[in-house]
């Protein structure tokens, strides 16, 4: 299996219209999306995007429709060409690749899962899952073996001879996932991959993805408009609005320290007890709490509150994975965070 690789997106701009290059400087100088549209008939897709994606992490890009998130993910494998900017992967700028290089790059470095599945309806599940390998020119027996392994892994064993139209939406997206994974590319691009699925199935598929990630360690870029989904699976989250990144950070950062009212509005309905971790709310260790019950730093806030209630205490000792005490969590801080307050000054 290939080592995970990172993605550096730098100063990326995308303007749609007949002469986009003519307006880059104006946009850089601060022309707004509305101005550009009204006065020059061009649409501002993305403005000065800078995202650094760590190898082997799940980067969520979240925004409402029209925020530019699907445009952004299509720049990573250059299904859309940027107006200006860089996308650096393994030291190479994707924007500068020739058509041949780009094709090789898409075959071996990236795989993509689509919102509406985009399966080939005239092919069986097996032939769909093997598509990427087929395009690479891998012999039939070998590509079927690989595809079959992933079909089993996503839980579709026994359906390999079926056609996509005979499967439910959730099962079709499993085929889409198997097709992407069979490629064994280090970068997995998921464009609203679960948005078309029912909530329960969506939750299920998130679990499938998180389990898989434990084992395959890919660099995953995941687009979604669903905040709960973003908070659940994202190691890091970038919030996009009108083509602009308005906040980047971990789920904890975004819930505890929203950058502006827009983000605050977004996160106010989140189940904070589940999303927030003890480690985000704890205070430094204090004297005289040595006998308090202990809780893992990665446990959820809700779990901490439950333990406090059970043990009838006001304080828990927080321990790291290696058993070391790293801090304490106080009942009033925990309740405050749960009710919507920000992180207390440490």
């Amino acid at each position: 299996m290939a080592d995970p690789i990172g993605i550096e997106i730098r100063n990326l701009y995308k303007i749609f219209g007949p002469t986009p290059a003519a307006y880059v400087d104006a946009v850089r100088a601060g022309m707004t999306k509305a101005e550009l549209q009204a006065n020059h008939g061009h649409v501002l897709g993305l403005r000065d995007i800078n995202i650094s994606i760590t190898p082997g992490s799940i980067q969520v890009i979240m925004g409402l429709s029209g925020s530019g998130k699907s445009t952004l993910i299509r720049h990573i494998n250059r299904l859309i060409d940027p107006t200006t900017g860089e996308i650096e992967i393994e030291g190479r700028n994707v924007v500068d690749m020739s058509q041949d290089e780009l094709r090789e790059f898409r075959r071996h470095k990236t795989a993509m899962v689509f919102q509406k599945f985009a399966l080939l309806p005239h092919r069986t599940v097996l032939d769909n899952a093997a598509y990427g390998l087929e395009v690479q020119g891998i012999p039939e027996a070998e590509r079927y073996r690989t595809a079959m392994r992933w079909i089993e892994r996503v839980g579709l064993k026994g359906f390999e001879k079926n056609y996509p139209s005979q499967l439910s939406g959730g099962m079709q997206q499993r085929v889409g996932l198997a097709r992407a994974l069979a490629n064994d590319a280090p970068i997995l691009l998921m464009d609203e991959a679960y948005s078309a699925l029912d909530p329960l199935i969506r939750y299920d598929m998130q679990t499938v993805l998180l389990d898989l990630q434990q084992e395959v360690r890919k660099t995953i870029v995941f687009i979604t408009h669903d905040l709960d989904e973003a908070l659940r699976i994202g190691d890091r989250i970038a919030l996009l609005r009108d083509g602009l990144v308005i906040q980047q950070g971990s789920a904890q950062d975004i819930v505890l320290r929203p950058a502006d009212d827009y983000v605050a509005n977004f996160v106010q309905h989140v189940d904070r007890g589940k999303v927030l971790k003890v480690s985000s709310i704890m205070s430094p260790a204090q004297e005289g709490t040595g006998d308090a019950p202990r809780i893992d730093a990665n446990a959820s806030l809700a779990e901490a509150l439950r333990q406090m209630a059970e043990a009838r205490v006001q304080t828990l000792l927080v321990t790291a994975g290696d058993g070391r005490d790293v801090g304490t969590i106080q009942f009033d801080n925990a309740i405050n965070a749960y009710a919507g307050g920000t992180k207390p000054a440490a």
Partner: protein, 295 residues
């Protein structure tokens, strides 16, 4: 008030001269290049002779078996198989077997030629809006120009016989093949094509693995239309020496043989229905798995 009742036209002698000059020029062109053009089209002669020999030379029981096999393979429906055999048996009983085979061979050759020409043109038309803008009026002319009009230059160039007949039939039958190939490819779900791109398909891989298979039902409808139009053209083509069911019809018109006309007319209708049912059933079976795949 004469100026308002008769349209002001170009001078008579001018028009006469104009027609004369064009006729003269075309005749000269024919004289000097006729042989070359005939040579260019001679492979068609080979194709036609081969396909006619295949159909008239094969014993009729084998033809019946092959048709039954094709009908079953395409439709998996006993009704269509029995209907096809019954049609051919009736045609044979009424003494039209030989002519029918000649017509079928002509239609097959015209269809094969139309596919060979029409498929790439249709694909190219789907790729380029500019090419479509140029080709569309040409196709309109091909479909609406009375066929007798383009029979004239074809006969002047190539004389009377099978090859000019085939060319006339193809001119008439080709447009639906091109148009429906174009339509079929343009209708392919752009998301599927995006997926093909995202996995690094080359242009050729995208065409043969995604576009053509997804456009196939529409392309099949084009082939079906082409066959039907080729059959309709067979009677007119008989005026320039194409043998088959058209010639008795032509004789019937000239001599007012009502029954002869009706028999041969129905034979044409019979094989038209046969071709149509078989190719449609096949097209439908191709579509079996193509219902919207979006859950």
């Amino acid at each position: 008030m004469t100026w308002s009742t008769s349209f002001p036209q170009l001078d008579d002698s001018y028009l006469r001269d104009l027609k004369k000059v064009i006729d003269e020029a075309f005749r000269n062109f024919t004289r000097s290049y006729g042989d070359m053009i005939e040579g260019f089209f001679s492979p068609l002669q080979t194709l036609l002779i081969w396909s006619e020999r295949l159909l008239t030379g094969t014993p009729w029981p084998i033809i019946l078996l092959v048709v039954a096999g094709l009908a079953w393979g395409a439709s998996r429906s006993w009704r269509i198989v029995v209907g096809s055999i019954l049609t051919l048996v009736l045609i044979g009983l009424f003494g039209m077997w030989e002519d029918t085979m000649k017509t079928v061979s002509m239609v097959l050759a015209a269809t094969v030629l139309s596919i060979i020409i029409g498929l790439p043109l249709g694909i190219f038309m789907a790729r380029s809006d500019r090419f479509r803008a140029v080709l569309n009026p040409v196709l309109d002319v091909m479909q609406t120009m009375p066929s007798f009009v383009y029979l004239i230059p074809v006969v002047m160039l190539l004389g009377i016989g099978k090859v000019p007949g085939l060319i006339a039939v193809v001119i008439y039958a080709l447009p639906p093949m091109i148009r429906l190939t174009n339509l079929g490819i343009r209708q392919v779900d752009p998301e599927v094509l995006e997926a093909a791109d995202a996995f690094g398909s080359s242009a050729w891989q995208k065409l043969v693995k995604a576009e053509l298979p997804l456009a196939l039902p529409t392309i099949m409808a084009g082939i079906n239309q082409t066959i039907m139009m080729a059959l309709a053209m067979v009677v007119i083509a008989s005026m320039i020496g194409v043998q088959g069911l058209g010639q008795p019809v032509l004789r019937a018109i000239n001599n007012q043989y009502f029954t002869l006309g009706v028999f041969n007319g129905f034979a044409i209708v019979g094989i038209a229905i046969l071709f149509d049912r078989i190719s449609q059933a096949w097209g439908k079976r191709l579509q079996k798995h193509r219902e919207a795949s979006h859950g």
